[in-house]
């Protein structure tokens, strides 16, 4: 964006401080995961794939918050959108599939694991992980970001930048977990509700992308906005189709016919 090249030098330290803070959090998460893996190594049921997905998820989050993509995002809406896809969709999906809560519960002592599961059962968690609330937080946040002066404020102030990106990541995580989460979820919503909410979310996401194509945010050039909007639309589609597949994969597992009835059917057929 071209309207905020002036505040670059005086606030550079704040921006650097934010990147250092993010890097520290990512390292802490990486170390925490490794610790939990070690602490729970005598228990079974962890797969290598989940570990890979956790670290890939952290990498997706890191790439969008630290380094060259962040620099590029200051001048290019398309780069900004690539970062948001990575932070708000890819990183949450990979982290949700890595089942970090299950791993944490395995690593903790029984007393502490109980405390964690009490938190997971709390009314607050119950409300924000409800599919409708999670989808509103996620899609609603995007609509607010791109249709109000918040988008401009996010580039001008590191505090707004930090707040917006924290929201994008957390809302993405909570939404993905409420749709296709593999961690224990005491309030898992019924399949039909999740399906309906997912359809509405995909529609909202693609409508916003097309709207952005015609109505670039303040200070964004038309060509840049159009490319960024298409990236949002098709990149969003790729992740959304994965979400639909995972949602139905959950249904497929849950409705598995019992071995006896299946054997009965085979005998009857032959």
């Amino acid at each position: 964006m071209h309207s905020h090249d002036s505040p670059q030098t005086p606030v550079l330290d704040d921006w650097l401080a934010f990147e250092v803070l993010v890097a520290a959090l990512l390292v802490a998460a990486a170390a925490g995961y490794a610790w939990a893996l070690r602490a729970g190594r005598h228990r079974s049921g962890r797969t290598l794939l989940r570990t890979v997905m956790f670290y890939a998820g952290l990498t997706c989050a890191g790439v969008s918050l630290i380094g060259p993509l962040v620099q590029a995002a200051h001048g290019s809406f398309t780069a900004h959108m690539a970062g948001h896809l990575s932070l708000g969709m890819m990183a949450p999906l990979l982290l949700v599939l890595s089942a970090p809560v299950s791993l944490l519960l395995r690593g903790l002592s029984v007393r502490r694991a109980r405390a964690v599961s009490r938190v997971l059962r709390s009314p607050y968690v119950r409300v924000i992980t409800h599919p409708v609330v999670a989808a509103l937080l996620n899609a609603g946040g995007l609509w607010v970001l791109y249709t109000t002066p918040l988008f401009h404020a996010m580039h001008a102030s590191v505090w707004w930048h930090a707040l917006v990106h924290t929201h994008i990541f957390l809302a993405g995580y909570v939404f993905t977990a409420s749709m296709v989460g593999v961690d224990p979820d005491p309030h898992r919503a019924p399949f039909t509700l999740r399906a309906g909410v997912l359809i509405a979310f995909i529609a909202a996401h693609s409508i916003l992308a097309k709207w952005l194509y015609a109505h670039p945010p303040m200070g964004v050039e038309t060509a840049d906005a159009q490319l960024g909007a298409q990236l949002m639309y098709y990149g969003g589609d790729a992740v959304d189709v994965l979400l639909i597949v995972l949602l139905f994969a959950g249904w497929y597992r849950a409705t598995k016919p019992r071995a006896t009835s299946l054997a009965g059917m085979r005998t009857a057929r032959s």
Partner: protein, 173 residues
């Protein structure tokens, strides 16, 4: 999710892709037909439109600047439903197969019927009645509309014929 067959109940709620026809289907193989219709309608909305009309012929574009807000919103929901019912149709097929059922001929007939039904809905409702988008821009549309709706009806007739041939007294699931 707890019931054995949540999909059959929800079919009317989707209200697209010609799923309505199956409501009168009392014969075995009902789920095979539903799966084919969902998949056919879904690929017509998502994959066929994307690959043939956007990327292949380039008659359709990401955004037509005259697109109204109503069109934008309905487009978004069509888009979401298109992908959703495509995947739904395939998982339903997988479920039929693992329960030892499935009839490929019948399923293919339902897919063709689904494609035709979606195309007819798109051609009549979206193109003509609501005027949301067109097949091609800057040309005389009569020929395009005739081919579009004509081929939609042809697909539906072929699909229905295949369903008729495979439907009588055969256990398809």
């Amino acid at each position: 999710m707890s019931t054995g067959e949540p999909n059959a109940r929800n079919e009317a709620r989707t209200g697209r892709g010609g799923a309505v026809e199956t409501r009168h289907e009392g014969r075995p193989g009902k789920r095979t037909v539903l799966s084919g219709l969902l998949f056919g309608g879904g690929i017509a909305a998502s994959i066929i439109d994307l690959f043939i009309f956007h990327l292949g012929l380039q008659w359709h574009h990401f955004y037509d600047l005259s697109t109204s807000e109503v069109a934008l919103v309905s487009d978004g929901f069509f888009h979401a439903f298109g992908w959703f019912i495509t995947v739904w149709g395939l998982f339903l097929l997988a479920d039929i197969r693992r329960r030892g059922g499935g009839n490929w001929k019948r399923w293919t007939g339902a897919v063709v019927l689904g494609i035709g039904a979606f195309q007819l809905l798109d051609g009549v409702l979206n193109h003509k009645i609501l005027g949301i988008h067109q097949i091609r821009y800057g040309v005389d549309l009569l020929m395009y509309d005739t081919v579009w709706i004509g081929s939609a009806v042809l697909f539906m007739v072929i699909g229905l014929l295949v369903l008729r041939m495979t439907g009588s007294g055969r256990r398809a699931r």
